[in-house]
Amino acid sequence: MMKQDAYGMTGALSISESSPLRKVDPRTKLALCLAASLAVMLPLQKVAVFFVLYFMFLAWARLLPGALRQIWKLKWILAVLFVVDWLVVSPELAVVVTLRLVIVAGVFAMFFSTTTPSELCLALVWMRVPYRYAFSLGLSFQAVGHINSEWRKILEAQKARGAFSAPSGWRYPVEQVKNLVSLTVPAVVLAAKRAWSMTEAAYARGFESPNRRPYKALLMSRADWFIVSGAAFIFILILSWRLP
């Protein structure tokens, strides 16, 4: 049985309130994540150094458990790749590929697990994304919960009237396709109705007014500048480090 709320469904979007990154400006975090994902390109020794720093940072940001969970999800892929790389190519490659994948898998979690969708919207507006686009992104997050419960209701309603035959395997493709259409059509219709009433509601509150002044604003604090300059310094150091 599915749960109703969007975030409970995956257990993944739990904003870590205790993380010090929670208070950091989303732009800072975005910059950090982008830089870190580029670190994947570094050669072995540098990746290894970066890897250690990265995990120290995660531990400081109290995101280590989440990151480890993400890596645990990847365990089979990592294990298979490691063995294959070792046997086919070399142990060095096995190590470097594993490190890269572990970094890639977790790096944006730094951003996504410490930023709320509305903060993301603020950051998007700052990046010159038009307010209407940022706003509709916010709405889509809000919609996950409804759509999920609507989806369940559609399935029930169709079953209740006998329009949805119980799964009889894929032996009856025509019936199965009809089943699917009996779900997708109401889902699309309901999404459109919701979108329309949201549009009306938005216009009733002066949406697209040129006078709009945001209530919340992004603010780069001293901590933000410290993190950004620290990260930049470490990056320059790693890049300029000459391998023996």
């Binding site: 086919v88 190519v89 070399s90």
Partner: protein
């Protein structure tokens, strides 16, 4: 363009894309694209060449650039084996006048505890395709299609010395 032509075009594009993915992948499997990812590369694996127990040179990446590459398709795995003729490598350091057909050439891998004993006659014959190829790890390997040296098991991987004995 009518609908049918557009659909046909789309099918062709999809086929081309799928083909391209598979081709690139098999090319990668062949190993050529692969070296870009290898840390270290060739330079860490210069192979010394000895003439009668005296070192006459070291075959390094810089030297390989002077030589032309050749290759063949390995019959067991249908993979392309590419590299430099062992003959050309030896001639980089040794004068051909000093080599007779009966001169013995040994290509050895101490780390793998393997070696191949050849004569200059075999080595000099281009049809035998006695080649020093590059493995995925950036190490040299001796490959060939000459009878007696045409199976993977007979090839010498991770070559770390080449000896010429008159």
């Amino acid at each position: 363009m009518d609908q049918k032509k557009r659909i046909a075009a789309a099918v062709v594009i999809i086929a081309a894309l799928a083909g391209a993915i598979l081709a690139v992948e098999s090319f990668r499997r062949g190993g050529t694209l692969y070296r870009t990812f290898i840390p270290g590369g060739f330079s860490s694996a210069c192979v010394p060449v000895f003439m009668d127990a005296a070192e006459i040179g070291r075959f390094c990446e810089a030297d390989s650039a002077k030589l032309k590459k050749f290759g063949f398709t390995d019959k067991a795995e249908r993979k392309i084996q590419q590299g430099w003729f062992l003959r050309d490598v030896i001639l980089l350091y040794a004068d051909e006048k000093n080599l007779s057909p009966e001169t013995r050439v040994t290509v050895a891998s101490e780390s793998r505890n393997k070696k191949a004993d050849l004569t200059w006659r075999d080595v000099a014959e281009r049809k035998n395709m006695i080649i020093l190829g590059m493995s995925k790890q950036g190490r040299l390997k001796l490959v060939s299609i000459m009878k007696g040296l045409d199976y993977r098991e007979q090839w010498v991987q991770e070559v770390d010395r080449i000896e010429v004995a008159r």
